[in-house]
């Protein structure tokens, strides 16, 4: 283990804490927040992959054009994924609100309409 891999390990840590939160969760809103955290893990990973030392942001408005920059592709993907992830989270929250309306609780154990 070395400092060189710390950002990757952080991404794994965030992924795993999100999963751990979900499997132990007894509240749908709690589950959804953990899912939102879990999704940020891949943002960390993507940006860490695109990063290189001694480079600058891929935006040239106040730096010379021949300067070394980091990868813009992973940044583009991350930006879109953050916004779309928010939409997915909002959809799940809307479901959760509805579940609460039907069962009066947010415990997924109360969802017993489908089984077997």
């Amino acid at each position: 283990m070395s400092a060189e891999h710390l950002p990757y390990l952080l991404a794994a840590w965030v992924l795993l804490t999100g999963l751990a939160g979900i499997v132990t969760s007894r509240d749908l809103v709690h589950t959804i927040m953990c899912l939102a955290v879990l999704q940020t893990s891949v943002h960390v990973l993507l940006l860490a992959i695109g990063y290189r030392h001694d480079a600058t942001a891929p935006i040239y408005d106040d730096v010379p054009a021949d300067v070394a920059v980091v990868d813009p592709v992973v940044q583009a993907l991350t930006v879109t994924d953050i916004v779309v992830g928010a939409a997915a989270t909002a959809l799940l929250l809307a479901f959760a609100v509805q579940v609460n309306k039907r069962t009066g609780s947010l415990d997924p154990a109360g969802l017993v309409a489908l089984r077997g």
Binding site: S2, L9, L19, P72, T80, V83, V84, A94
Partner: protein, 251 residues
């Protein structure tokens, strides 16, 4: 803790062990970035006169991905509208203005409200600015849209959902969102018709660093800004509506 908790945590630990072992085999952080991304960063400036390479990737080089994500956002907003509408009691018509004022939720401190309201206009302007200059400097449509949506959140904090409803009724948000996503598609199809390829560039490139430069990148960025702002505002608005509904029911 339940049995599921224990088994689940054990599985998570197992997965973690495998993941960590594999990730340690990756090349070290910051040693090198993918060649593909670096090549695209060069092309953005060299061939599109775009000083923001991220926007060049989003709205030209890999605009198809952006289209896919934009439509996912579009679908998400449309879905939340449908799911929460059922809850609102199937009532579609807008509430009359007089009752709408009474639907104010928690009393918010006057100071908070004043500050929030004062912040709204600059925030919206800032968001628009970010979206419009996406091809030149930091930011772009998604960021601008998100910032405008944050402004909508400020209106809510100011306890003015009646105002919010007035300024941005659901039907209007539907339209602006459709203009954003639809415009993106139409620009892409126009480019296809003119032979530049779907979502290709059809406008003059201008001079790098100027507002009118980088061809279609700026146009698409603004359209995405519109789409993202409307979609996120729709989400906030639908959720606000829910809480207001309930508070009104309380004695």
């Amino acid at each position: 803790m339940s049995a599921r908790g224990f088994i689940g945590l054990a599985a998570v630990v197992l997965l973690g062990a495998w993941l960590v072992e594999g990730l340690l085999g990756l090349p070290g952080f910051g040693e090198d970035a993918p060649a593909y991304g670096l090549a695209l960063a060069d092309l953005a400036l060299a061939e599109r006169n775009a000083t923001n390479a991220v926007s060049a990737v989003l709205f030209d080089l890999r605009a198809l991905d952006t289209l896919g994500e934009a439509l996912a956002l579009f679908a998400g907003a449309a879905a939340v509208q449908t799911v929460l509408r059922e809850l609102a009691g199937e009532e579609e018509s807008e509430p009359p203005a007089s009752t709408a004022v009474d639907r104010r939720p928690a009393p918010t401190g006057d100071a908070v409200r004043a500050v929030a309201l004062w912040l709204v206009a600059p925030t919206v302007l800032y968001g628009a600015y970010i979206a419009a200059r996406g091809h030149v400097s930091v930011g772009g449509g998604f960021q601008g849209g998100a910032i405008v949506a944050a402004a909508v959140a400020l209106v809510f904090l100011a306890g003015r959902q009646a105002t919010m409803h007035h300024l941005a009724p659901e039907s209007a948000l539907d339209i602006t969102e459709s203009i954003g996503a639809g415009g993106f598609l139409v620009v892409g199809l126009v480019a296809l018709a003119t032979g530049a390829g779907f979502l290709g560039n059809v406008l003059p490139l201008g001079e790098a660093g100027r507002l009118l430069s980088a061809g279609t990148i700026g146009v698409l960025s603004v359209l995405i800004g519109l789409e993202a702002a409307s979609a996120l505002a729709t989400l906030i608005q639908k959720f606000v509506e829910q809480t207001v509904e309930i508070r009104q029911e309380e004695p």
